[in-house]
Structures are given as structure tokens and as C-alpha cells.
């Protein structure tokens, strides 16, 4: 934990609630990124990241400093993300709209053309759908490793699992995504 985080948490826990603001400013972008990978939607990601900090605000008084603040916050974000996906599944809605895809080599035509744009949107939907189909823990590990670039040790600490288990989740997730998305490589 950085001294700065620790100092701010001490201030918060001793009554200076404004000490929460620098923590929000410092980790806002990272938490938003996680939220985006769970929601695939700008508006939902914003709401979800707000919810993460709201949960953190409520719980920070009881934070025991056994892990770094970021690890603790990340765990909250992961749980909020899983809750979001479960809730969305129950509602049976698929608000997958705002993905930006910049890859070129898998497209048969230009993305500037109407046909290319349709193809691009379809590809974005399929990628989001494939990630959504992963079991919660596999999805969490995949997002943390591939998109957040956390180390295996960091992920293990956040999820409370061994490094070996994290490797297994990552392997299963990668194979599953390959099976789901391989048809789109061959287009």
C-alpha cells in the first residue's frame, strides 16, 4: 500500500470524510475500466463505477488494511461487476452497444463501407457475448489478466485463490473464448 493511500484511509477513519475524494480521483479510471469490461456500455459502466465507490465509502470505516486499498477496491469492483451481469441476465437484456473495435485483419471488407460497419458491429456483439458466457470467476480472471494486466499473484489475492487456480481459470477461459470466437476469425 502506498503511504498516500494509507494516510488518506487513516484520515477518513478518524473522521475526515473528505479524504475519500483523492482516493476516488486516483482510482476512478481503473475502476471505470473494470466496469466497462463487465457492462460493455458507457452509461452502465459509469453507473457501476459510481456504485463501486459508493460501496467502498460505506465499508471503508471497517477496512482493516490487510491488503492494499487497491486490491480491496478491486474486489468490490469485481463483485459489483458480477452482480451487474447476474442482474442483466435476469432481465434478459443485452445492452451491448458501445464497443470500439480497431482490428483490421479479420475483416473481409472496409469498415468504412455500410457492409463493413454492419460486420464490425456484429463482431463487437459476438466478442461481448462470448465474454459474457464465461462463468463469473473465469470472466473475472480473464478481465484482470488480459484487460487490466494484473499479475497472477495480484489476481490470486483479490479472488482469495491460489495462483494455480487462477492459471486454471485463465486457461479454461481462453479455450472457451477460442471456441466461441473462432468462427469469426474465418470470415
Amino acid at each position: 500500500m502506498t503511504d498516500s493511500d494509507l494516510d488518506l484511509i487513516k484520515k477518513f477513519q478518524s473522521g475526515d470524510a473528505t479524504a475519500f475524494e483523492p482516493l476516488v480521483n486516483k482510482y476512478r479510471d481503473k475502476i471505470y475500466d473494470i466496469a466497462y469490461y463487465y457492462t460493455h456500455d458507457v452509461e452502465d459502466a459509469y453507473d457501476l463505477s459510481q456504485e463501486v465507490f459508493e460501496r467502498a465509502f460505506k465499508a471503508l470505516g471497517g477496512f482493516r488494511k490487510k491488503s492494499s486499498f487497491y486490491t480491496w477496491l478491486y474486489r468490490i469492483a469485481k463483485n459489483a461487476g458480477i452482480d451487474y451481469v447476474r442482474k442483466r441476465s435476469r432481465l434478459q437484456t443485452v445492452p451491448i452497444e458501445e464497443w470500439v473495435y480497431s482490428h483490421e485483419s479479420f475483416s473481409t471488407g472496409s469498415h468504412d463501407s455500410p457492409a463493413g460497419k454492419v460486420e464490425l458491429e456484429e463482431l463487437k456483439r459476438q466478442i461481448a457475448k462470448a465474454i459474457d458466457q464465461l462463468p463469473p470467476k473465469q470472466r473475472a480472471v480473464f478481465i484482470m489478466k488480459r484487460q487490466q494486466e494484473l499479475s497472477l499473484e495480484e489476481i490470486a489475492q483479490i479472488l482469495g485463490r491460489s495462483v494455480g487456480t487462477i492459471k486454471a481459470h485463465l486457461s479454461h477461459a481462453t479455450h472457451k473464448l477460442m471456441n466461441l470466437l473462432e468462427p469469426y476469425l474465418k470470415k
Binding site: V42, F57, A59, G61, I127, L170, S171, L181
Partner: protein, 235 residues
């Protein structure tokens, strides 16, 4: 290494989480095995495809309001806690709700600190705060420093002060609930709130108003404090 073993390790290889020995063994195998090499290429291409999905951010105008939006969200949630428990004579207030009020009070987005009426109150009281004890507790004895926090919230919630900024604050809190210190027979982890309009509550109202009048008296141009029975009766 056989293909079956190699294919089990390919995902770890492409994610760069294998140890040097396993990684070397995979490299040796794919150099000789066309099938596994194709599988590795497929894995790499799929991951590249996913990696190129970029995070998109909200417009700057929205992004800049992240903290004010968060303040509002926390305070709204605190107001909901009030509303859910209004029918009870006394109820417990989670510590974070009180903290939320303090965040709002001190929030630069509302700039209460600059208000000539509010500033001396904040300087005197907020400097003595001691809150957030445990996950959902809030030290609450009438002679403790943290009582002052509850008192500030009480004042802001129930008093009539000639300040637009305070009205803005009150509106944001969206609650007429009163908070006051009540330490007898309760442990120090609770805040008791009186929101009813019955006779006992009226006596409590008078007690609070008296306290507020005494404490605000030092500000010549300070707040005018009045009791509004209809307000309490409507709760």
C-alpha cells in the same frame, strides 16, 4: 511432449504464465507440430481480437461530474435510509450515513465553506469531528466530539437559516429527519434519530431548539432558528 499435453498448455503459453521449463517444451513442440502451431495461431488471433476492444469513456462534461454525482448518490442513499425507517420512534443510523452528510457539508461542489453564515459553524464543529468507527457504527455520546457531527447535521436539517446554499444542501439531503445525541442506556455505536411528531418528540424538539439557539447565539449575523411543527408533524 505429446500434442494432448501441448494443447493443454497452449493457453498458458499464449497468456505468458508458464514457467520457463514448460514454456520451452511448448516452443519445441510447436516447432515440429503443424496442428498445434495452427491451434496456437488461432488462440493468438482470438486474444488479439479481444485485446483490440477498447474502453470507451463518457463525454468530458459527464466525466468531470464524477465526484459530485457520487456525492449526490451517497446522500440520496442516506435519505432513503431515513425514509425507510420513518415510522419508528427511534432508529439506528448507520455510520456511513452520517459520514455522507459530512461529505456533503464539506463538498467543494456546494462550496458551503465560502458561505459567511455556514463557514464559522463548519470551522468550529467540523474540526472536532470523530466519526466512522467500524463498518457501520458511529460513536454517539452526548459529550463526545462526534456528537458535534450529529449536531451539525441536526442543525442543517431542522433549522431555518437565511442562506441559499444551506437550502440547497437541505434540498439535496431530501429529508426532514432530525438527528440528536441521546446517550442514555445506549452503547456508543448508535445514533438515535427522532422523526416522529408525538408529544415526547415535541419535548425533544424543544430541547434541540434550545441547544441550537444557545450555540448559534454567538454569531451576530448568524442563523435564525425556528421550530416548524407542521414540518415535524408531516413526517
Amino acid at each position: 511432449m505429446k500434442c494432448k499435453r501441448a494443447q493443454k498448455l497452449l493457453a498458458g503459453y499464449v497468456n505468458e504464465v508458464l514457467g520457463p521449463k514448460e514454456s520451452h517444451a511448448v516452443q519445441e513442440h510447436i516447432a515440429e507440430c503443424e496442428i498445434c502451431r495452427r491451434e496456437l495461431d488461432t488462440l493468438k488471433n482470438v486474444l488479439e481480437l479481444i485485446d483490440n476492444v477498447k474502453v470507451e469513456y463518457p463525454p468530458t462534461s459527464v466525466w468531470e461530474n464524477f465526484l459530485p454525482d457520487l456525492h449526490r448518490r451517497i446522500v440520496d442513499e442516506a435519505a432513503l435510509v431515513f425514509k425507510k425507517q420513518r415510522r419508528q420512534r427511534f432508529y439506528l443510523l448507520p455510520g456511513w450515513v452520517a459520514v455522507a452528510a459530512i461529505v456533503l457539508i464539506l463538498s467543494t461542489s456546494i462550496t458551503l465553506q465560502d458561505d459567511p453564515v455556514i463557514r464559522p459553524i463548519l470551522v468550529q464543529r467540523a474540526s472536532n469531528t470523530a466519526i466512522a468507527k467500524g463498518t457501520s457504527s458511529f460513536t454517539m455520546k452526548s459529550d463526545s466530539k462526534s456528537t458535534l457531527v450529529a449536531e451539525i447535521i441536526s442543525e442543517l436539517l431542522i433549522t431555518e437559516i437565511e442562506s441559499e446554499k444551506l437550502l440547497e444542501l437541505r434540498s439535496a439531503i431530501q429529508s426532514e429527519a432530525m438527528i440528536f445525541p441521546y446517550d442514555d442506556n445506549y452503547d456508543d455505536a448508535d445514533v438515535l434519530i427522532d422523526v416522529s411528531g408525538d408529544a415526547d418528540a415535541k419535548a425533544d424538539d424543544e430541547k434541540i431548539i434550545k441547544y441550537l439557539e444557545e450555540n448559534f447565539a454567538e454569531f451576530d449575523d448568524g442563523p435564525m432558528i425556528e421550530s416548524d411543527d407542521s414540518e415535524f408533524g408531516a413526517i
